[in-house]
């Protein structure tokens, strides 16, 4: 019998599944789960892709445990080049970046994102980390994927508090489902077999389009083995602490 997803493995594995052969893929700062996804794809999938990371590494190969920081110099190990911050931005804006993983605190149905504030920008209730690269990268890369560890009406919203970035966000992965953008709108492409579409709808802030949604294919043995090798003692899973929401009966 196939292994089941945990909420943690669901997010990491579905981020890894966005990666395609022979493309240039980038993972950034404050991006632990995409870092794991890129490493997982290198170990589990039988194809090549170029992995750039924010530590400056090009197709780095770890020689020890995965670092807690997704910008750690450990992610330079085995790299044959240093490709620093300015370089990967310039690569992106000149059209050379196929896929970037970019964080977002709030996402609306059009795939626009807020990483800046909760409340009014000028007198914020919560000052968030900021957009990092997204305002520059989102409109200039080919496609972006983002993730939320909390799928709720606070994170998947009808209206953003502030539009930090808008552009080619293609994929959103939450513990409940995978959104794909079609005709300018996020639709549920597939959902976690442990939940129903109605349950997802009940915790989503924008009108959910799930007309063509299917259950997400179960994790493969290779994906499970790769994730186990990256997080042998469950430290990353524990730190991420991803829970499915309590659904109303």
């Amino acid at each position: 019998m196939a292994e089941r997803f945990t909420p943690f493995s669901y997010v990491v594995i579905n981020l890894a599944r966005v990666i395609r052969p022979d493309e240039v893929t980038f993972s950034g700062v404050n991006s632990t789960l995409p870092m794991l996804a890129c490493l997982l794809a290198k170990r589990a999938y039988d194809f090549d892709f170029t992995w750039l990371n924010v530590a400056g590494g090009v197709d780095a190969e770890l020689d020890g445990p995965v670092p807690l920081s997704s910008g750690d110099p450990a992610l330079m190990h085995g790299s044959a080049a240093v490709f620093p911050n300015e370089e990967f931005y310039d690569l992106c804006t000149r059209g050379g970046m196929d896929l970037c993983f970019l964080g977002a605190s709030q996402i609306d149905a059009t795939g626009a994102t807020n990483n800046s504030v909760i409340g009014d920008w000028h007198s914020p209730k919560v000052r968030l980390p900021g957009g990092g690269g997204s305002a520059v990268m989102m409109p200039t890369l080919r496609r972006a994927a983002t993730w939320r560890t909390e799928h709720s009406a606070r994170t998947l919203v009808d209206k953003l508090f502030f539009q930090t970035a808008k552009g080619n966000l293609q994929t959103v992965v939450t513990p409940l489902c995978v959104f794909d953008k079609r005709d300018g709108r996020l639709v549920v492409e597939s959902y976690n077999p442990d939940v129903t579409v109605d349950q997802i709808r009940s915790v989503t802030g924008f009108t959910l389009d799930a007309a063509t949604a299917k259950p997400t294919p179960a994790p493969t043995d290779a994906e499970i083995a790769a994730l186990r090798s990256l997080d042998p003692d469950g430290r990353f899973a524990a730190d991420a602490n991803i829970q499915l929401p309590e659904f109303a009966a």
């Binding site: 700062v29 404050n30 632990t32 924010v54 530590a55 400056g56 670092p67 807690l68 920081s69 997704s70 910008g71 750690d72 110099p73 450990a74 330079m76 240093v82 490709f83 620093p84 911050n85 300015e86 931005y89 310039d90 992106c92 804006t93 000149r94 626009a112 990483n115 800046s116 920008w121 000028h122 007198s123 914020p124 209730k125 919560v126 000052r127 968030l128 980390p129 900021g130 957009g131 990092g132 690269g133 997204s134 305002a135 520059v136 990268m137 989102m138 409109p139 200039t140 502030f162 539009q163 930090t164 970035a165 808008k166 552009g167 730190d239």
Partner: protein
Amino acid sequence: MSRKSKHTSLEALVERIPDGSSIGLGGSFLHRGPFAFCRELIRQGKKDLEIIKASPGYDLDILCRAGAVRRVRAGIVALEGNFGLAGGYRKAVESGKVELEEHACMTLVAGLRAAGAGVPFQPVGGVHGSQIAEVNGWKKIADPYGTNQETYLIPAIRPDFVVIHANEIDATGNARVFGSPHWDRAMSRAARTLFVTAEKLVETERFRERPELTLVPGFMVSGCCVIPNGAWPGSLAPDYSVTYDEVQAYVDDAERTIEPHMSRAPELKLKGSNHG
């Protein structure tokens, strides 16, 4: 200034920074930042500083907790590595004590590149659809050479001081870093006055053997000092990794003071000793 006089103590270097200065900091997040320098800014009670860095974290956060900051220009601010939001920075912005100029990281670097090139602004890709352009009043122009492609122009950002932490330095201020230079190339070129702190003093001959590794030629450097473990509690590749327990202790301090953390800083051991 004679070449040798550039080397001084950390205390003397920081004494040259007036209150109210704008300071660009090197490194990224927890990695190769001039963190001992930031702690010395706090010890000397500096005030009303403007901090400029695309991806600050610990450095900006501790300066905010110490009340040393008036204004920030930054792209993304976090402690990273599962430590989440930078609480000291967050509180300072939310309470209005610190004014934020929010950037996308590369827009900040475009401003630095403009300053480094001696021009009033620099075009940057992207930004379309971002309200960051509105809150900053950034302007865009249509390509005057025929394509009409609209491009945002970022005004020059010229820090009064820039401080980077390097792996190695020589007697004349030549400095090099191992691993990613992060944003330090653009940052160092934008400075009115450039300071370098470094882990280690090495012979100039070592620099002559591999000149392509020199990130900052000595003639650009106005002042420097050697501070072993100067990026603590962050990392400095390949010598040391992030001291995660210390970052955790810094975040968790129950009394909400930075004193216990400050008292464990490795540069305290250098006080009074001669590091020229």
